[in-house]
C-alpha cells in the first residue's frame, strides 16, 4: 500500500490542484479518488496499471467540482445582483504569475486536458477515453487552451 500511495499521491494531488485551484478541494478530490479506487478494486483488472485508472477519477471529479463551484459563484452573484461584476475564477495564492496565472484563467475542462496532456503525459486518445469525449473535442480543447495561453502570455510582455 505504501508503494502504491507513494507512487501516485503527489501527482494525483497536484493534478487535482491544477484543475480546481483550491487547496482544500484538491485534497478532498485526491482523497476521494483514492478511496473510490480502493472501493472499486474488486471490479478492477489488477494486471493493468493503477495510474491511468486513478487519474481518470481525479480528473473527472476535479472537473465536476470546478463546474459546481463556478455555478455556485454565478448563482451567488446573480442573487446579489452583481452578475456583471462577478470576478473571473481567481488563481490560488501561489499561482500568481506568468503561465500559471494564464492557466488559472482557462475553463476547468480546458485546464483538465492541459494537465492530463502536459503534466501526466497522456495522449489525446487516452485523454478522450478517460473523459469519455470524442478525440476531436480533446484536440480542440487543447488547441484553444494553448492558443489562449499564448495570447495571455503575449499580453504580459
Amino acid at each position: 500500500m505504501a508503494d502504491l500511495y507513494a507512487a501516485h499521491w503527489r501527482r494525483a494531488h497536484r493534478a487535482a490542484y491544477l484543475i480546481v485551484h483550491d487547496a482544500a478541494a484538491a485534497e478532498d478530490v485526491a482523497q476521494d479518488a483514492f478511496l473510490a479506487a480502493i472501493g472499486a478494486l474488486d471490479r478492477f483488472d489488477r494486471r493493468r496499471p493503477f495510474g491511468p485508472w486513478l487519474h481518470r477519477i481525479v480528473a473527472n471529479r476535479a472537473i465536476d467540482w470546478a463546474r459546481r463551484e463556478g455555478l455556485r459563484r454565478r448563482v451567488d452573484a446573480e442573487r446579489e445582483g452583481e452578475a456583471e461584476r462577478a470576478p473571473a475564477p481567481r488563481p490560488g495564492p501561489e499561482i500568481d504569475e506568468g503561465v500559471m496565472a494564464a492557466l488559472a484563467g482557462l475553463p476547468a475542462d480546458q485546464r483538465a486536458v492541459v494537465v492530463l496532456r502536459h503534466l501526466l503525459e497522456y495522449s489525446p486518445g487516452e485523454i478522450a477515453r478517460m473523459l469519455e469525449l470524442p478525440r476531436g473535442t480533446v484536440n480542440s480543447r487543447l488547441r484553444r487552451a494553448l492558443d489562449r495561453l499564448g495570447e495571455l502570455l503575449e499580453d504580459e510582455r
Binding site: L4, A6, R14, A26, I38, R46, G51, E69, D147, G150
Partner: protein, 417 residues
C-alpha cells in the same frame, strides 16, 4: 508566445508549481487511504501494479527516493494519525463488552434522556421511568429541559416533558431538525429545505435561508444570535454558513466537507466540528464584536480508521467522541474513540457489529453509546471506571409490540437538575 514554445515549457511549469499544504495533505491522505486499505483487509496482499508514474524520472536517485519514502512511512506510523492507523491495521479484537442488565432501571450519571422511537419521543427520568410524549417524528430539549420541541409533519410543537402541549406552529414544509437556542428563547428548524427561526412562544416565525442541506443547524454557545448551517449539497457544493438568526445577514461562509452529515460547536466556542463519513474537521473561528464570525482555517482530526457513524462534542467543548465502523458483514466491528488535546484518538473500546450513536452526558464524564446489534446502550466513563450496559432497549420503548421493533435514537441527554 507561440504554441510550440508553450508546449515545451508547460510540463516543467506544471511539475514545479507549488501546491499549498502539499506535505500535510499527503500525510492526512496517507492516514485515510491506509485505513481504507486496512478496512478491506488487503493492505498486505494487494497485487495492483504500483508502476512508476509517467513523465520525466524523478530528480532524486532511486535509492534516495526509497529512503525518503521509508522515512515518510516511519514518520507516519509514529505520528498521531499514523499511530491510529497502525493501531487499526494491527488490531486484534477482544470482546470487552460489559454484561448487560436487562431494562433501564436508572441512568448512570443521572440527567434525563430524550429518546425517539417508532411510536414517538420519550422522556426518560434519572430513575429510569419514562413517558411517551405523543406521535411526533423528532424532538429536541429546550436549554434547561423545561420544554421539548417536537416535529410532526408540517407542524413544530412545544410540549412539556409530561406531554402537555404548549403551542403548535404550522410550517410551510415538512419540519425536521428543530434546535433550541441556549442563549434566548428561539428555535431553529428546517421546513423542507428552508431554514426558519421562531420564538420560543411560537411567535415571530421567519425564513432565514433557502436551499439548506439535510443537516441539523447549530446555535452558537456564546449566547449571541449566531447560527451555523449547511447550504447546498444537491445541485451545488455544500457550504458551511454562519448567519445572524434575527436578520438573516450572512456572517461568513466556506466550502463544507462533501457529504457532511453533522456539525457541532467546539473548542469551546472558537471552533466548529464538521463530520462526514470519512473526515472530521475543526473550523477555527474568530469571534468579533457585535456577533461577527470569521472562519480562520481548518484542521482535520486524525482519521478514526473506519467509517464514521457518529461524533459528539463534549458540552465543555474540549473533547470529541467518535464511533467508527471497520470491516463488513460478519467481520464488522466498531470502536469508540476519544479525541482530546493534540494527541491522536484514544480508543475506549471495540465491539463486534455496529455502534450507531455516541452522546455525551451533561457533565461530559460519560458517553452513551448505542449498540443496536446487541440491543444495548453502553454507558462508558470517559475517565476511570467500567462501562455499564443496559439491554432490551428496543422493547423498553415499544411496549406491547410483538416481533422486531426499530432501535430507538437518543435525541439528547439533558441538564441534570
Amino acid at each position: 508566445m507561440s504554441a510550440p514554445g508553450i508546449e515545451q515549457r508547460l510540463p516543467g511549469l506544471l511539475r514545479e508549481a507549488p501546491v499549498p499544504g502539499a506535505t500535510e495533505a499527503e500525510r492526512r491522505g496517507h492516514a485515510v487511504v491506509a485505513a481504507a486499505f486496512a478496512e478491506r483487509g488487503e493492505a498486505d496482499r494487494l497485487p495492483v501494479s504500483a508502476e512508476a508514474p509517467r513523465g520525466r524520472p524523478a530528480s532524486l536517485p532511486r535509492l534516495a527516493l526509497g529512503l525518503l519514502i521509508a522515512a515518510l512511512a516511519a514518520a507516519l506510523l509514529l505520528s498521531p494519525a499514523g499511530a491510529s492507523v497502525r493501531h487499526w491495521v494491527g488490531d486484534v479484537f477482544t470482546d470487552n463488552a460489559p454484561k448487560a442488565h436487562p431494562g433501564l432501571t436508572a441512568i448512570p450519571g443521572g440527567g434525563r434522556l430524550l429518546v425517539q422511537s417508532a411510536d414517538g419521543p420519550w422522556v426518560v427520568q434519572a430513575d429510569g421511568s419514562r413517558r411517551l410524549l405523543g406521535d411526533y417524528s423528532e424532538a429536541t430539549w429546550s436549554p434547561h429541559g423545561l420544554f421539548v420541541g417536537t416535529a410532526s409533519g408540517r407542524t413544530l410543537n412545544a410540549v412539556e416533558p409530561d406531554g402537555t402541549p404548549h403551542w403548535t406552529l404550522n410550517a410551510p414544509g415538512p419540519v425536521t431538525d428543530p434546535r433550541w437556542w441556549a442563549g434566548k428563547y428561539r428555535i431553529a428548524y428546517r421546513a423542507g429545505n428552508e431554514l426558519r427561526v421562531v420564538a420560543g412562544d411560537g411567535s415571530g416565525d421567519h425564513l432565514l435561508a433557502r436551499g439548506t442541506a439535510p443537516v441539523a443547524p447549530v446555535w452558537s454557545p456564546t449566547g449571541l444570535r449566531q447560527l451555523a448551517f449547511v447550504e447546498g449539497g444537491v445541485s451545488r457544493p455544500p457550504r458551511l454558513t454562519f448567519a445572524d438568526a434575527e436578520s438573516g445577514a450572512p456572517l461568513d461562509s466556506a466550502a463544507a466537507l462533501p457529504s457532511t452529515f453533522k456539525i457541532e460547536w467546539a473548542d469551546p466556542v472558537h471552533g466548529l466540528l464538521e463530520v462526514s463519513r470519512s473526515v472530521l474537521r475543526i473550523r477555527a473561528l474568530q469571534l468579533g464584536e457585535n456577533g461577527a464570525i470569521a472562519i480562520q482555517g481548518s484542521t482535520r482530526l486524525p482519521s478514526p480508521g473506519g467509517r464514521i457513524e457518529d461524533a459528539s462534542v463534549a458540552p465543555a467543548g474540549d473533547r470529541v467522541a467518535v464511533v467508527a465502523r471497520l470491516g463488513h458483514g460478519e467481520r464488522t466491528r466498531s470502536s469508540v474513540l476519544l479525541y482530546e488535546g493534540d494527541a491522536g484518538p484514544r480508543r475506549l473500546l471495540t465491539l463486534p457489529g455496529r455502534l450507531s450513536q455516541v452522546v455525551f452526558s451533561p457533565d461530559s464524564r460519560r458517553l452513551l453509546v448505542a449498540w443496536p446489534d446487541a440491543d444495548e446502550w453502553l454507558f462508558v466513563p470517559v475517565g476511570k471506571g467500567q462501562p455499564q450496559a443496559v439491554g432490551d432497549v428496543s422493547a423498553a420503548f415499544a411496549p406491547g409490540s410483538k416481533g422486531a421493533v426499530a432501535f430507538p435514537t437518543v435525541e439528547g441527554w439533558c441538564c441534570a437538575r
